[in-house]
């Protein structure tokens, strides 16, 4: 086994996903198979190989630090599921 059900549950917590018992069961099997498949990367010697995070060689992309008109509160809040007083409204965080 590459991954256990308990690990899958832990990952679901990290990913902020509420998963049903059936989903956890199915995912454990599928993730195990996929992780088994990706294990073949271990066959390659990558000692001293520089990792690629970006396919086009590029240094920092600088631009002028200029003020541009922002989206504006009204537009930014227009798609929010809940808002109040110019803010996004969320469930109570601090008791």
């Amino acid at each position: 086994m590459k991954i256990t059900r308990a690990q899958v549950e832990h990952v679901a917590t990290l990913a902020r996903l509420a998963l049903s018992e059936a989903e956890l069961e199915t995912l454990t099997g599928q993730m195990d198979a996929i992780l088994g498949y990706v294990d073949q990367l271990g066959e390659l010697d990558t000692e001293g190989i520089v990792p690629t995070s970006h396919a086009v060689p590029m240094e920092n992309a600088f631009r002028e630090d200029r003020v541009r008109p922002p989206l504006g509160t009204e537009k930014a809040l227009a798609a929010a599921p809940a808002s109040e007083g110019g803010c996004f409204r969320v469930p109570r965080v601090i008791e």
């Binding site: 990290l14 990558t46 992309a61 930014a76 798609a79 809940a82 996004f88």
Partner: protein
């Protein structure tokens, strides 16, 4: 005249000479969409009224002899491009009612050139899939055979072009999502070099791999669409600030003396014999056009799918963290407090494949596994990229199949994610390397399904790539065949 049967470059001339109007062209498309799309399901959102008023404005410009390259041309967009005031779902329940407050750069560039937008096209949810079956808005049917998938994730875009439901479309390609559906639907699909087209306003899946590109009826139309959207954008700091050439500059130059490489790792067991035969015939055609064909090796090819499913899922798990029920999208107020709301909203909003990839990516990035999975994959990515750069020392262009088979049946691969992933085996390496490639029709199977040829070019070699594709297209008849609907 059937206006929906014309290519963009044919339509451009007719519109400019005022032999047809943009309004009648748009109406012809809207009528065809109403009649044909219920059987294809290419569109998630239709914007008929906006399209008609846009077409009337285009006619006013054209009457004065003004307008841009695409004035009055009816196009449609994969529903991954955010469009101001037009619902943008990414084929997900979590964005089912999302109306963006701005246009992405590719969209505003098309609008600036005068394009008329007919609507937003179906896709795999968040561009995750190879069959378009992972859509919250239902599967798309292949115009050549309604029992088969159109490919994915830009399945709606490819089917839309094949069914003549728009003059051309834009899609996105993270692991083959333009080329594989283009191949399965018998149209031309181009994935430009990473950084060639701005990703600003394109809903992110895997940011280091995602790239915008056209799906079109022929090579010239693909070149025209790329011309309209390519170029540096200050709003996407990964877009590259190199000059945009004339993408039709190499048309008419033929293939004489072109050094073409056949990567031996792409002609393997598991490649469908009918696909293999069509590609072999395409190679013979290139030879007869004067190309010098040699065998080359991309030795790390077999590791690409494994590498991709770590890199892409890791980036996806991070990108999709933004769907938290706070600023936009679905919110489900269940469970305990803020955390309960996040978990319930994401559980209700994401489909099965999206959850699977978020889980895989979260695992690959999690403490204790980062080095073994994510970092290892990034190192393997370096090796895969080097394979291509080495090959381009010896040849100008690579020819390969696009997919191991022609379009497969609806439901055929849905129960086995790994089998589905392996259908992208020939397209994924190009995204990891970051270079450009296209798919164009090169034959049909005995059952009448289109087969695509993949041409892979050097980084930022789109003009040369399109030139070779144009020469091939001029010498063959495959693009003339149309799906009957």
């Amino acid at each position: 005249m059937d206006l929906t049967g014309l290519s963009i470059h044919e339509l451009q001339g007719l519109l400019r000479r005022r032999e047809v109007s943009a309004a009648e062209t748009t109406r012809a498309y809207l009528e065809r969409i109403a009649a044909v799309d219920p059987g294809v399901n290419a569109y998630i959102t239709r914007t008929g009224e906006k399209a008609l008023s846009g077409a009337e404005a285009a006619d006013a410009l054209l009457a004065r002899g003004e307008g841009g390259a695409l004035t009055g041309i009816p196009l449609a967009l994969k529903d991954i491009f955010v469009t101001e005031g037009v619902r943008t779902t990414c084929a997900s329940k979590i964005l089912e009612n999302y109306i963006p407050p701005y246009d992405g750069t590719a969209v505003s560039r098309l609008k600036a050139e005068g394009a008329v937008l007919l609507g937003k096209l179906n896709m795999d949810e968040f561009a995750m899939g190879s069959s378009n079956e992972n859509s919250a808005f239902g599967a798309v049917r292949n115009p050549w055979d309604p029992a088969r998938v159109p490919g994915g994730s830009s399945g709606g875009s490819a089917a839309c072009v094949a069914a003549r439901l728009a003059a051309g479309t834009l899609g996105t390609d993270t692991g083959g999502s333009i080329r594989q559906p283009a191949s399965h639907c018998g149209v031309v699909g181009l994935k430009p070099t990473y950084g060639r087209v701005s990703r600003y306003g394109v809903i992110a899946y895997a940011s280091s791999l995602d790239q915008v590109g056209p799906l079109a009826r022929d090579v010239e139309d693909a070149a025209l669409l790329l011309q309209a959207v390519a170029g540096h954008d200050p709003l996407d700091s990964t877009s590259v600030d190199t000059p945009v050439p004339d993408y039709r500059a190499s048309f008419g130059k033929g293939m004489k003396g072109l050094r073409v490489g056949l990567p031996k790792e792409y002609f393997i067991e598991g490649l469908d014999p009918e696909v293999a035969r069509a590609v072999e015939e395409a190679v013979a055609t290139c030879r007869s056009l004067g190309a010098e064909v040699t065998e080359v090796s991309l030795p790390h090819t077999s590791y690409a799918v494994a590498c991709y499913y770590l890199v892409a899922t890791a980036e996806a798990s991070s990108n999709l963290a933004r769907y938290d029920g706070v600023r936009f999208g679905l919110r489900v107020d269940e469970g305990e407090g803020l955390l309960g709301m996040y978990r319930a909203s994401r559980a209700a909003g994401f489909g099965e494949e999206v959850k699977r990839r978020i889980m895989l990516g979260t695992y690959a990035l999690s403490s204790g596994y980062y080095d073994a999975y994510y970092l290892k994959a990034q190192k393997v990515r370096t090796l895969i990229r080097k394979d291509f750069l080495d090959a381009f020392e010896k040849v100008d262009l690579l020819l390969t199949p696009v997919a191991p088979t022609a379009a497969f049946g609806l439901g055929e691969k849905t129960s086995d994610p790994l089998q589905m992933y392996l259908s992208d085996i020939f397209t994924i390496p190009v995204n990891l390397a970051g270079t450009c490639a296209l798919s164009l029709p090169c034959g049909f199977t005995g059952a009448g399904l289109p087969v695509g040829l993949q041409m892979i070019g050097r980084p930022f070699g789109e003009a040369e790539l399109l030139g070779a594709a144009h020469a091939f297209e001029q010498a063959t008849v495959w693009h003339d065949r149309q799906a009957t609907l």
